[in-house]
């Protein structure tokens, strides 16, 4: 079992509130990813769950038991550090065996366990080498081996892949996903890389300035971000934001005006919107070439051709913010040549003045079904 509950967990450094009352439930066997910009408190939260940092107030429960005052081992967690933290003077075998040596496990049982862990991580041939002789990916696998050998209830990963190069990172991502399926253990993973979050997580927790901005499945965050922060954080390139004015509210949605063009965005309105300035968000990959429900004529300044896609950047409105469009790879556009782009009303996100999203009228099950079933696309 590996059920984790956080009840209004707070962390102060002096008078500075790093974490502002985190409420979270992680179910047994779940792969949860904490993601957020640097300084948002995600690593601190992980270290508090691990027992490396003190919890200022609130309760951390593992399997219903309050563990605030327990040392890491007694909590039943294992942690993998960003820097691997391998013991350089010990062989791979001894590194993996370290937690078992601490608990004075009999030699035979220990050997069997270490070899089992090494097999899972394809380290069988490396057991007698020292960490200095291993590549970055192998070192990280040793660090993971040291975590799994103790069979903890909860695995904690602190940006474990950020020191690897891009190709290796992609490989390790797949290996970690496999490992999770194999071990069926609860895993909590901290990263600032949204690709890691989107690809591995059952559930993503987006943190911003010490608060949970949103919790949800990867596609839920993508299609129904709860606020401007999540909308801008999830998705790459970043979502475009346009300032619009609300002109009318109807059953069909909210009618907004952008520089004389009216468009009805299918979102659930709330009272008192008319006349207010709202923010319309649209993802670069949803911008089409040619006219749409909302049409913008822009002059691209930079065009990046990535093969599969072409990313075009244009300055609009003069506020210095780039308007970014992700177009098909072979699209015929050139820098400094005006081009007409369109946005479908159904693709739009709408945020009120406080930055809170007006809920889009898309059913998540529909999104998932659509994405799972190629025929519907």
């Amino acid at each position: 079992m590996g059920q984790l509950n956080l009840n209004t967990v707070q962390k102060f450094y002096g008078t500075f509130e790093v974490l502002k009352g985190i409420e979270l439930e992680v179910k047994n066997g779940e792969f949860v990813v904490f993601v957020g910009p640097s300084g948002c408190g995600k690593s601190t939260l992980l270290r508090m769950i691990a027992g490396l940092d003190e919890t200022s107030s609130g309760d951390i429960l593992i399997d219903g038991k309050r563990v605030n005052d327990l040392p890491p081992v007694k909590r039943g967690i294992a942690m993998v550090f960003q820097s691997y933290a391998l013991y350089p003077h010990m062989t791979v075998f001894e590194n993996i065996a370290f937690p078992l040596r601490v608990e004075k496990m009999p030699e035979e049982k220990l050997k069997a366990k270490v070899e089992h862990a090494a097999r899972i991580l394809h380290l069988d041939q490396r057991l007698q080498q020292k960490p200095g002789m291993l590549s970055g990916g192998q070192r990280q696998r040793v660090a993971i081996g040291r975590a799994i050998v103790r069979e903890p209830k909860i695995f904690l990963f602190d940006e474990p892949l950020s020191n690897l190069d891009a190709a290796l990172r992609a490989d390790m991502r797949i290996e970690l996903a496999k490992l999770h399926r194999q071990l069926q253990a609860t895993m909590i993973y901290v990263t600032h890389d949204q690709v890691e979050a989107m690809t591995m997580a059952d559930r993503i927790v987006v943190l911003n300035a010490g608060e949970i901005a949103q919790t949800g499945a990867p596609l839920e965050l993508y299609h129904k971000p709860a606020n401007i922060f999540v909308a801008g954080f999830i998705g790459n390139p970043k979502m475009n934001f346009l300032a619009v004015t609300c002109t009318a509210v109807s059953d069909a949605g909210v009618e907004v005006d952008y520089k004389g063009q009216a468009v009805v965005v299918p979102v659930r309105p709330h009272a008192g919107l008319v006349g207010r300035t709202l923010t319309l968000g649209v993802r670069p990959e949803h911008i089409l070439l040619g006219a749409g429900d909302l049409s913008l004529s822009v002059t691209p300044t930079v065009i990046e051709r990535l093969g599969a896609h072409t990313v075009a950047y244009a300055a609009i409105g003069g506020e210095g913010e780039n308007y970014c469009a992700m177009l098909p790879g072979t699209v015929a556009i050139r820098p400094e040549e005006q081009v007409l782009t369109g946005i479908r009303a159904a693709d739009c996100h709408l945020f009120d003045e406080a930055g809170i999203a007006l809920e889009r009228r898309v059913e998540l099950t529909d999104i998932d079904m659509e994405l799972l079933d190629p025929a519907a696309a």
């Binding site: 942690m79 550090f81 820097s83 391998l86 003077h89 370290f98 608990e103 020292k130």
Partner: protein, 285 residues
Amino acid sequence: MSQPALINRYRWYELVAIYVGIFVFLAFILAPFVEGFIVSLKPLSLLFSSPYKFWPENASFAAYFTMWESVPGFARYIFNSFFISTIVTAIVLILVIPAAYAFARFKFRGSGLLLGAFLAVNMFSGAVLLIPLFRLMRSFGVLNTYLAMIMPGVAFLIPSAIWLLRTYMMRIPRELDEAAFVDGASHFYTLRRVILPIAMPGITVVAITTFIGAYAQQFIYALTFNSKTEFMPLPVGLFAYFGRQEVIWNELMAASFVGIAPAVVVIFLLQRYLVSGLTAGAVKQ
């Protein structure tokens, strides 16, 4: 011939300047040793011959044999020196390793103050405190024992040893401690299984400096706190070559060289632990 890297290439006059500089400084440092060695080879009668000859005539190692006869207790003095320094080094290491670990890793009230105080203590040499130390030794009743030379030696070498080792231990990534803590290891287990092996080069440096320090400073304590011949260390023992009529210079020099030999051997033995790159692969830097 392989060219050195660009950053290591010098013009001919730069090379000349570098070697001239090296020669001048080395000459200053090594000349006394050379002169001492040459004196030890000369017969006593030729030492004050005039004109002075740098290169000895009738050079022989005779003084290295006669020295044992003119001062029969000399072997004992060498042993005493060696013994005192070894015990001092051992005690300092046993005390300093956990202390340095604590200063490097834990934040506790007064740690900065304590470290500052250690540095301040370092500024007093033992010689300044001889009289209070003498009274202390007398009331403990340890005058004229090995302890009288070991205790102040340990006390005055600990501060610099703590500073040295603390700096080294601070360079060991903290994640290693945290990883061991997460795996259930206690502080002492972590110190023994993780920190100690990694800090070996630093500990070796501390051991060498402490040993040399103990070797050098025992002179003053031996002179003041000990009057028994059998406990005399080497530097005091050398005075035995100062006769009533004359100083047996050649034997004195020979004795000096023989006396430092054990220390040199120890330092060479310790030196092989001074390997760098022991932390390779611990963390990604």
